[in-house]
C-alpha cells in the first residue's frame, strides 16, 4: 500500500490545521455577529483559498494547498467523507414523526417551495446556458441541477434561526421544520434521478432502473432497515461501550450504505442520507447520541467541507456580477414565493405564510453540496457555482432578520 511520505504527511496535517483554525476563527466572528457558523466557515475558505491568500501570499498558499499532490488527494478523501457525514446528519435530523404530525400542510409547502424554483431555475438555465455557465452538451441535466440547487432548504441552519427567534416550537416553526425535512427527502430523490439522466448518456443504469432502485432502497431502508436497526441498537447500547460503540457502528453503517448506493449507480451521499433517516427515526437512538453525532460532525467535518469550497474556486477571478445577480434574485424570489403560496394553499394566515416563505428560503448546506457535485461533474461553471455560494450566504444571513421582521408585521 502506497503511503504518504514525511513531507506529504506534514503538508496534510498543516492543511487540516489551517482549515480548522480558520473555520473556527471565522465561525466565532459569525457567532459574534449573530450569523450561522456556516457563513463564517465559507468565508474562511475564501480567505484561505486562491481568492485572498493566493493573491496576497501566493507562495505560501501554493505550499499549503498546491505543492504536494498526494496530500491533496488525501485531503480530498477527508472532504468526501465530510460530505457523506454531512448528509448522514442531515438524514438524522429528519424526524418522520414531526413530518407526519404536520401532515399535508407541510407537504404542500415543501412541494410548492421546490417546484417553483426548479421550474424557474430550469427555464432560466435552459434559455441562457452560455450566460449562466451551464454545460450546453448536457443542457437538460445541468439546468435541472441548477433548479434543484436553488430549491433546497438548509434544515440545520433554519433550525438554529428558529431557535434564536424563539419560534422553534411554535406551529409555524414546526411547519417550517417539517417542510424542510420533506424538501430534503424529495430533493435527494430528485437528485439521484437527475444524476441517472446524466449517466444514461454515458452507459449508466438508465433513468427507470435508477428511479426504481432509489425508491426501493428508500423504502427498504425505512422499513426493513429500520427494523434491523431497532433489533440491533438495544444490544449495542447495552453491551458495547457508550457512546463509543454507537458512534463507530453508526458511522460504519453510514459508510456501508453510502458505498452501496454508489455501487448500484446512485450517488454515495444518497445512501448516507437515507440511512441517517432510518437511524434517526429509530426509537433506540437516544437524543443524547444524536446530540453527540451532531457536535462531532458539525464541528469537525462540516468546517472541513465548507472551507474546502473556497479552496476550489477563485471567488474574484471567476465572479460574474450578472450571473450572481440572476441566481440570487431568481433563487430568493422563487423559493420565497413557492413556500409562501404553498403556505397560503394550506390556509396558513398571511403573516405566518411570510415567515414560512423566509424560513424555507434559508440555504447554506445541501444546496452547496449539490452545486459542488455539478461543478465537479462539469455541469456548471465556476461563476455559476460562486453564484450559488453567494445565494447561500445571502439567504442564510438575511432569513433570520426577515423572519423576525415578518413576525412583527401587523397584518
Amino acid at each position: 500500500m502506497e503511503t504518504l511520505n514525511h513531507k506529504e504527511v506534514i503538508n496534510l496535517l498543516l492543511q487540516l490545521a489551517a482549515m480548522l483554525i480558520m473555520a473556527r476563527v471565522f465561525a466565532e466572528i459569525a457567532r459574534k455577529l449573530k450569523q450561522p457558523a456556516v457563513v463564517g466557515e465559507i468565508l474562511a475558505g475564501i480567505v484561505l483559498g486562491p481568492t485572498i491568500l493566493g493573491s496576497l501570499m501566493p507562495g505560501f498558499q501554493e505550499y499549503l494547498f498546491g505543492s504536494h499532490e498526494m496530500s491533496n488527494i488525501a485531503l480530498d478523501g477527508f472532504v468526501q467523507i465530510s460530505v457523506v457525514l454531512l448528509l448522514f446528519i442531515a438524514g438524522l435530523e429528519v424526524e418522520l414523526q414531526i413530518v407526519w404530525s404536520q401532515g399535508k400542510n407541510a407537504l404542500k409547502i415543501a412541494v410548492a417551495s421546490m417546484v417553483l424554483p426548479i421550474i424557474a431555475g430550469f427555464v432560466v438555465a435552459y434559455a441562457f446556458p452560455e450566460f449562466l455557465g451551464v454545460n450546453i452538451n448536457d443542457r437538460i441535466v445541468a439546468s435541472t441541477f441548477f433548479g434543484l440547487a436553488i430549491g433546497i432548504t438548509a434544515l440545520a441552519v433554519v433550525a438554529r434561526i428558529l431557535m434564536d427567534l424563539n419560534l422553534f416550537k411554535t406551529q409555524t416553526g414546526l411547519l417550517i421544520i417539517a417542510a424542510a425535512m420533506i424538501v430534503d427527502v424529495l430533493g435527494w430523490i430528485v437528485f439521484s434521478v437527475i444524476l441517472s439522466l446524466s449517466e444514461s448518456g454515458s452507459g449508466g443504469l438508465g433513468v427507470w432502473p435508477t428511479i426504481g432502485l432509489t425508491l426501493a432502497f428508500t423504502l427498504i431502508m425505512l422499513t426493513i432497515g429500520k427494523g434491523l436497526i431497532n433489533k440491533t441498537l438495544p444490544w449495542v447500547n447495552k453491551k458495547m461501550a457508550w457512546p463509543g460503540g454507537l458512534l463507530s457502528l453508526s458511522l460504519a453503517i453510514c459508510f456501508l450504505a453510502a458505498s452501496f448506493t454508489e455501487f448500484i449507480g446512485i450517488h454515495a451521499i444518497f445512501g448516507a442520507f437515507i440511512i441517517g433517516v432510518a437511524l434517526g427515526d429509530s426509537e433506540y437512538l437516544t437524543e443524547k447520541a444524536k446530540e453527540i453525532l451532531h457536535q462531532f460532525i458539525n464541528n469537525i467535518f462540516a468546517p472541513i467541507f465548507f472551507v474546502s469550497i473556497g479552496l476550489k474556486v477563485n471567488f474574484i477571478e471567476s465572479f460574474d456580477l450578472g450571473v450572481t445577480g440572476v441566481i440570487v434574485i431568481v433563487g430568493l424570489l422563487t423559493k420565497y414565493y413557492g413556500a409562501y403560496f404553498g403556505s397560503r394553499l394550506a390556509q396558513i394566515p398571511r403573516r405566518e405564510s411570510i415567515i414560512v416563505g423566509f424560513g424555507l428560503s434559508t440555504r447554506g448546506s445541501m444546496d452547496i453540496i449539490l452545486g459542488l457535485i455539478a461543478l465537479e461533474s462539469g455541469l456548471v461553471s465556476d461563476s455559476l457555482f460562486i453564484g450559488l455560494v453567494i445565494l447561500a450566504l445571502v439567504s442564510s444571513i438575511a432569513s433570520g432578520p426577515l423572519m423576525g421582521w415578518a413576525g412583527r408585521l401587523k397584518i
Binding site: 407526519w100 433550525a159 431557535m163 425505512l222 437516544t286 437524543e287
Partner: protein
C-alpha cells in the same frame, strides 16, 4: 365524568374479568352500563350473559345489553354513537405479532375510529385492576390540555396515589446539536431552558385545574413521546397511561408506524385514549 360506559364482549375466557372491571368503573363513575355483543343472539349466550350480570351484581336499571349482527368494528362503533357512550372498555393482548399488526386487529380498528374515549385493559381481573400509578402524556400537542384535564379527573375518581405527567422535548438532539455553536455557558442555559419550557407548559395547564388531593409530578424527557412514555411506564411500574388521539390514521401510518401506533404495539400498561 362518564354518563355511559360500554363494554364490547366476545364471550372469550376473559369475559367475566372484563365485566367485573367495568362494573367497578360503573360504580366509581356512577354511570350506566352498556354491554355490546356483535354476533347471533342465542338462548345459551343470553343465559350466560345474564348469569354474569347477576353474579357481578350489576344494577338492572342501569344496565343495557345490545345484541348486534354485522361487522364487529362497525357495529360496536355504531352502538357507541347511538347510545352516546362516553367510555368504551376493551380487553387487549399484551403483545401482538408483526403480521397481525400490519393486518390490523379489531381492537385497533375500534381504537382508531372510536368516537369516545377508549380504556384498554391489558390484564383484566375479576378482583379488578388498580389505577394507583397514573402517567399522563404532557407532550405539547393540540389535544394535551384536554388529555391532562381528563387524566386528572379520572385519577381523582379512581383515587390514584401518584400522577406523573411526562413531557417530551421535541427534537432535543437537533436543538442541542445546533446549540453547539455557542459557548459552554450558553449551551447549559439552552439545556436548562428547554427543560423549563416544558415544565412551564404543563404548569400553565395545571394552574386552572382542580387537582384535589392528587400528588402530581412533572417529568421531562427527550425522544419520541410514545416510546418514552412506554419506557417510563415500565420503569415506574405504572398501571394506567393516559394519551390523546386527535387524528385519523392513514395508509402511511401503517407503513411507518409512529406515536399512538407505536404505543399500541408495545402496550406497557392499561391505556386510556382520550378522544378530541
Amino acid at each position: 365524568m362518564y354518563q355511559k360506559i360500554a363494554l364490547a364482549i366476545a364471550f372469550s375466557p376473559r369475559i367475566e374479568a372484563l365485566i367485573a372491571e367495568v362494573k367497578r368503573l360503573v360504580l366509581l363513575f356512577d354511570s350506566e352500563l352498556v354491554l355490546i355483543h356483535v354476533g347471533v343472539k342465542t338462548p345459551e349466550l343470553e343465559k350466560k350473559l345474564n348469569e354474569l350480570i347477576e353474579k357481578n351484581q350489576c344494577d338492572p336499571a342501569k344496565t343495557k345489553v345490545l345484541w348486534k349482527e354485522g361487522k364487529p368494528v362497525k357495529m360496536i362503533l355504531q352502538a357507541c354513537r347511538e347510545e352516546k357512550v362516553d367510555l368504551l372498555v376493551a380487553g387487549a393482548l399484551k403483545q401482538e405479532g408483526l403480521f397481525k399488526y400490519y393486518m390490523g386487529s379489531v381492537g385497533r380498528k375500534i381504537i382508531r375510529k372510536s368516537p369516545c374515549s377508549v380504556l384498554t385493559l391489558i390484564e383484566p381481573r375479576v378482583k379488578t385492576s388498580e389505577f394507583s400509578r397514573v402517567v399522563i402524556n404532557g407532550t405539547q400537542l393540540e389535544i394535551t390540555p384536554q388529555v391532562i384535564k381528563h387524566g386528572l379527573e379520572f385519577s381523582k375518581v379512581v383515587k390514584a396515589d401518584q400522577v406523573s405527567i411526562l413531557n417530551e422535548i421535541k427534537m432535543y438532539g437537533l436543538q442541542m446539536g445546533t446549540a453547539s455553536e455557542d459557548s459552554e455557558e450558553e449551551i447549559a442555559h439552552t439545556r436548562r431552558q428547554l427543560v423549563q419550557n416544558e415544565i412551564d407548559y404543563v404548569e400553565q395547564i395545571l394552574k386552572d385545574l382542580d387537582k384535589g388531593k392528587l400528588k402530581i409530578n412533572i417529568k421531562v424527557t427527550g425522544g419520541k413521546w410514545a416510546v418514552e412514555l412506554a419506557r417510563f411506564c415500565e420503569k415506574t411500574d405504572a398501571n394506567l397511561l393516559v394519551v390523546g388521539d386527535e387524528r385519523k390514521l392513514n395508509f402511511f401510518d401503517r407503513i411507518f408506524p409512529h406515536d399512538l401506533e407505536e404505543l399500541l404495539s408495545t402496550l406497557p400498561c392499561n391505556l386510556l385514549i382520550v378522544k378530541k
